[in-house]
Symmetry: C2
Subunit: 420 residues, 2 copies
C-alpha cells in the first residue's frame, strides 16, 4: 500500500474530545504523522466549545500568561498548550492535532471520520453532519455499547452509517482511557466489513458524486437498501491495513476483524456483568466468586449475540478479541460499573446514590444497558434463559439481593454457549 503513490491523502477528523476522544485523537494524530504517505499530517478534532480555566495545579499555569487569567475557550487552550486540560489533564497531545470548535469546518473534505462522543449526542451530531461530509467518507465509531430497545438491538456504527449514508465500522477493547493516554500497553479490536461494492458500477472520481447502490445485510439480518459511494481512486484504499496504520501504536496493539456486531456488543454487555462482579466483591466473597460471575456472564454474552445477531455475528469474537473477554476482564477489575456496584454493597447505598457521590454528574452505562436488555428479553419471553442479566436487572430494581446471585444463576441451562 505504502509503495503505491496516490494523488491524494486521507484527511482524518476526530469527532469528540472527552477523555476517550482525546486519547484516541492523540493516537490517530501520532499515526497520521508517522504514515504521512497515506494521511494528511494535520488531524482535526471537533471540540464542543466551552469556557475553561487553567487550574492552578496544572504544569501550564503561569499567572503572567493571559490564557491563565480567567476562563478561555477550550479549543484555544488545547491548541496553545497541546493538552486537553479539562478532560485529559497531564497528557501531552501531538502538535499536528488541531482542536476545532466548528463541526462543519472540522469535517470538511475529511475522508476518514472517527466518532467518539457520548452516545446520547450521536443522533444530533449526525443530523448536523448531514450534507456536510464527503459522500464517500468512511467512519469508525469508538462509542461503547449498543442501542437496545423493545424494537431490537442497533449498533451505533449502523446508526451513524444509515444517518450519513456512509459505511462505519467500530473500535472497542480493553481500553481504560487514562491508561491508553499514558501509553501503558493495551490491545484493541477494530471491526470493519463494508459490503462489496458493485464492481460494474463506475468508480467515481473525487469530483463526482455518483452513487453506487448495493444490498446491505444489516445486523438484524434484514436486507436494507443502503447507498454507498465507492472511494475515488485518487485515494489509497481504506481497508484493514489502513485502519491498522491509523490506530496501531507500540503501546496500542490493534487487531482488525470483520465482526462489527460482536465488537460492539462486547463493549455494551460487559458493563452489565461488571455490576454483578462489583456486588459480589462488595459482599467480600473474593476472587472465586467474581470469576464465577464473569464466566456465566461471558456465556450469556455469547448467547445474546447468537440469539439476536445470528446472521452476522462471530461468537469467537467474545472469546478471542480484546473487545470480548479482555474488555470484560478489565471492566470487572477496575471499571466504573464494577467500582460503583462494589461501593453500593459496602456502603449499603443504592447505586444511584453512589453514582451521585462518585461520578460527578456522569451516569453509569451498565445500569441503563441492564434495563434495556431486560426490556428486550422480557418482550421476547427470554428472561429465564439469561439468569445473570435478569438477576442484575432485578437487583437494580430492588427486587432481588446480590446474595441471591448464586442461586439465580445455578440453574443456567448447561452449555449455554453451545454455539461456540
Amino acid at each position: 500500500m505504502a509503495s503505491q503513490p496516490y494523488e491524494r491523502k486521507h484527511k482524518v477528523t476526530v469527532i469528540g474530545s472527552g477523555n476517550w476522544g482525546s486519547a484516541i485523537a492523540k493516537i490517530v494524530a501520532e499515526n497520521a504523522a508517522a504514515h504521512n504517505n497515506i494521511f494528511q499530517e494535520e488531524v482535526q478534532m471537533w471540540v464542543y466549545e466551552e469556557k475553561v480555566e487553567v487550574p492552578k495545579d496544572s504544569k501550564h499555569f503561569d499567572p503572567a500568561d493571559t490564557l491563565c487569567q480567567g476562563p478561555h475557550n477550550l479549543t484555544e487552550i488545547i491548541n496553545h498548550y497541546h493538552e486537553n486540560i479539562k478532560y485529559l489533564p497531564g497528557i501531552g497531545l501531538p502538535k499536528n492535532l488541531h482542536a476545532n470548535p466548528s463541526l462543519e469546518d472540522a469535517v470538511r473534505d475529511a475522508t476518514i471520520l472517527i466518532f467518539n462522543v457520548p452516545h446520547q449526542f450521536i443522533i444530533r451530531i449526525c443530523d448536523q453532519l448531514k450534507g456536510k461530509i464527503l459522500p464517500f467518507a468512511r467512519g469508525i465509531s469508538c462509542i461503547k455499547g449498543v442501542d437496545v430497545n423493545e424494537q431490537g438491538v442497533s449498533l451505533f456504527s449502523e446508526t451513524i452509517g444509515k444517518k450519513l449514508g456512509i459505511y462505519c465500522g467500530a473500535l472497542s477493547g480493553a481500553n481504560i482511557a487514562t491508561e491508553v493516554a499514558k501509553e501503558l500497553w493495551s490491545e484493541t479490536s477494530i471491526a470493519y466489513h463494508p459490503p462489496p461494492l458493485d464492481s460494474k458500477a463506475p468508480s467515481p472520481s473525487a469530483s463526482t458524486t455518483e452513487i453506487v447502490h448495493f444490498e446491505h445485510k444489516d445486523t438484524s439480518g434484514q436486507l436494507a437498501d443502503v447507498k454507498l459511494q465507492a472511494l475515488p481512486t485518487q485515494y489509497p484504499p481504506v481497508d484493514h491495513e489502513t485502519w491498522k496504520a491509523l490506530f496501531h501504536r507500540p503501546y496500542f496493539h490493534v487487531r482488525v476483524v470483520d465482526d462489527v456486531a460482536g465488537v460492539s456488543l462486547g463493549g455494551a454487555l460487559k458493563n452489565v456483568i461488571a455490576l454483578a462482579a462489583g456486588w459480589v466483591e462488595g459482599l467480600g466473597w473474593g476472587d472465586n466468586a467474581k470469576a464465577a460471575v464473569m464466566r456465566v456472564g461471558l456465556l450469556e454474552m455469547v448467547k445474546f449475540g447468537d440469539k439476536f445477531f445470528s446472521a452476522t455475528i462471530n461468537p469467537r469474537t467474545f472469546l478471542q478479541e480484546s473487545a470480548g473477554v479482555a474488555d470484560l476482564i478489565t471492566s470487572c477489575n477496575g471499571g466504573r460499573n464494577y467500582r460503583c456496584a462494589k461501593l453500593s454493597v459496602e456502603r449499603g447505598q443504592s447505586i444511584e446514590e453512589v453514582e451521585r457521590t462518585e461520578l460527578n454528574g456522569q451516569k453509569l452505562q451498565g445500569t441503563s444497558t441492564a434495563e434495556e436488555v431486560n426490556r428486550y428479553l422480557k418482550k421476547q419471553g427470554l428472561e429465564d434463559e439469561f439468569p445473570l442479566f435478569t438477576a442484575v436487572y432485578r437487583i437494580l430494581e430492588g427486587k432481588m439481593r446480590p446474595e441471591e446471585i448464586p442461586n439465580q444463576i445455578e440453574d443456567i441451562p448447561e452449555r449455554a454457549g453451545s454455539k461456540l
Copy 2:
C-alpha cells in the same frame, strides 16, 4: 437414584490433608452426611502424620489441655478439635470426618477415592496403595496441573488410574482453597468419563474380582489396554449425579463434564499465564495490559489442548467451565504465581528470591510448568506458535525482560484459537 435402595453405601476416603485437601474433605464429609442414603456418613481423611503444637493464638489453645502441651500427632489434634490447625487453621471440620495416619487403613473398603496431595508425592502414594484398594473403586484427582515432559503430556488422573487399575476423573476450578473453606461462593468443574464397560461381561458381585477388559482411548490418542472392574450392583452407580451429590454445596457449585484433559490442562497452564500477568502488573502497566496477557494466554491454552489432546479434548471447556477461563481469571487476580511475579518486578528480585521470602519453603507451580511446557514445545519445534508461553520461559531464564512481552506476543498468528 436416591429413591432406589441399594444394599451397600459408598465409603469415601480423601487422600491428603493440606490446605486444599482439608477444604475438599470438609465438603465431601458435609455431603456424605447430607446424602447418607448413598454414602457412609464417616469419611476417612488420610493425613501424613507429623508432630504439631497448638499455637497460642488458636481458639482451641488452653494451657490446661494436655493436647496443648508440647507437640502431638496432627491426626489426634484434628480428631479432637475438628480443625486442621496446621494447614487450614480457623476452619471447623465436620465431626464425621476422621483423620487417619494409616494410608492402608484409610482406604480399606473405600469405593470412592479422592486424591489431593502435592503432585510430587502421587507416584509414591500410588505405589503404597497398590493391592490395598478395592479393585472396582472410582477416583477423582484434585491435583492441579499435568505432568508435561519431553515424552508428552500426562494427566495426573490418568497416571493414578493406570497405576491402580481404576478409573479416575479430575476436579479443578476457580478455587482458592481458603475462600472455599470459608464457604465463600465459588464454582468448580468435575470431569468424569469412564470408558464404556463391555455390557456382555458379567457384572461382578462385591465378593468377586472378575476383571472386565476394554479398550481405552487415552488422552494422547493411543489405544491402551486398561483393565477396569465394573462396580458391583449392590452399590449405587457412580455417575455424574453421584459426583454432584458428593461435591456440590450451596457455596460450592459443581458442573460435571466429560472432558478430563481440558479440565486438567486448564489448571496447569493458567499458572504460566499468571506469571506474565504478575510481571505486567508489577511494571505498573494497569488493567488493560493484564487483560491483554490473559486474552493471549487463553488462546494459547486452547491451542495447546488442540495440538496435543485433539483426540479427546473439548476446546469449549477452556471457555465455558470454571476450570478454564474462570480459574485463569482467579489465578491472574490473586493467585500465588501472579503475586510472586508481581513482587519480583516491583522489588527487582528473581522469582526464586521472592519464592524463598514469601512462600515459606513452598515452590511455585507456574515456573516448573513453564519450563516443562517449553521443553516439550522446543522438542516439537513449536516455540514460535506459543509466543506467550515462550516469553514466560525466556523471562524465567533471564533471556528476556517482562517489558518485551508486548512485542513478543504481537506476532501471534491471527485467530490462534481457530479450532474453537
